[in-house]
Symmetry: C2
Subunit: 176 residues, 2 copies
């Protein structure tokens, strides 16, 4: 027997997440704003926002070197803020926008918090686990899979990273 209620629920849920390209880019710009906060404190510039009902409800930016805590990646901080805000570890009605492809830890936190939609900008060829080295977000063995869309404001997100590393190399050269 076809479970109509479930199908309607899925259609409705998908409907909530059908963002236009303009909307996706607007949310990614907010994630880029977070990445700039990381850059301002000399951290690898990666930023993330979590969106619910069309509004940004939580933000995060990479601050691992500043805090000396391995878990302080942009996505983890945003997920934790969203969990605290809605007082629920399940973020089933949220979408995550992050400037760079999630690493293994952040992909895990996305799966664990059951975020259904993940949008990222630049691919991470060294550690990305949302389509590059592997795809943990769409792994059928887990009890949750996210829909992943890569390449939102790809150029801006990539340039944010590459200019950071370029400047770092130049500064190091001058200090020699």
């Amino acid at each position: 027997m076809v479970n109509c209620e479930r199908i309607v629920k899925i259609i409705c849920r998908r409907g909530e997440f059908v963002y236009t390209q303009e909307e996706k880019e607007n949310f990614m710009r907010k994630a880029l704003k977070e990445a700039k906060k990381a850059k301002a404190i000399d951290e690898v510039p990666i930023g993330a926002v979590i969106v619910k009902d069309g509004e940004v409800i939580a933000r995060g930016y990479n601050q691992r070197e500043t805090t000396n805590r391995a878990i302080t990646h942009a996505e983890i901080l945003a997920i934790d803020e969203a969990n605290r805000l809605i007082n629920n570890w399940r973020l089933e009605e949220c979408a995550l926008f992050v400037t760079v492809e999630p690493c293994v830890m952040c992909s895990g936190a996305i799966v664990l918090s059951r975020i259904p939609y993940v949008y990222y900008g630049a691919s991470d060829y060294k550690g990305g686990t949302a389509g590059t080295l592997m795809n943990l977000l769409e792994e059928p063995q887990f009890n949750h899979q996210s829909h992943v869309e890569a390449g939102i404001l790809k150029e801006e997100c990539s340039e944010m990273l590459s200019s950071f590393f370029r400047e770092l190399r130049e500064r190091r050269k001058h200090h020699k």
Copy 2:
């Protein structure tokens, strides 16, 4: 040319982690003690400890339902405590003991914090990513691999979990 310094460093580091079976079981008993704290507050009983120089320096137990925060798994809490304690996100001189096989998020946090030795008790057939569904801790594509040993106090660790779920089912039956 053979890099002698690196080889000596590796041998020395390995030396630090050659625990006897008795030592491993003692550390796992401390992780089980943490798991009991989770059970006492009706959380899935999983516990973890981080060991450095033969001493437990950080502890954690699962408290996801209590905190409503997806990241509050035993391993993440122990890693974060260890990072704060030694003021370093790298836990390269530490070993992690956890009663149940790490999930995708915790495996990621182990990789990100570069813990070289991971010992676990019971396997997790639904979500374990340290040898069961996959092995993210020994994944050659990542920039860090941990040595993994499974099955330390396996029976006690499994029984801790199964008795919790048995009691939960019984309680639910009585409440019907």
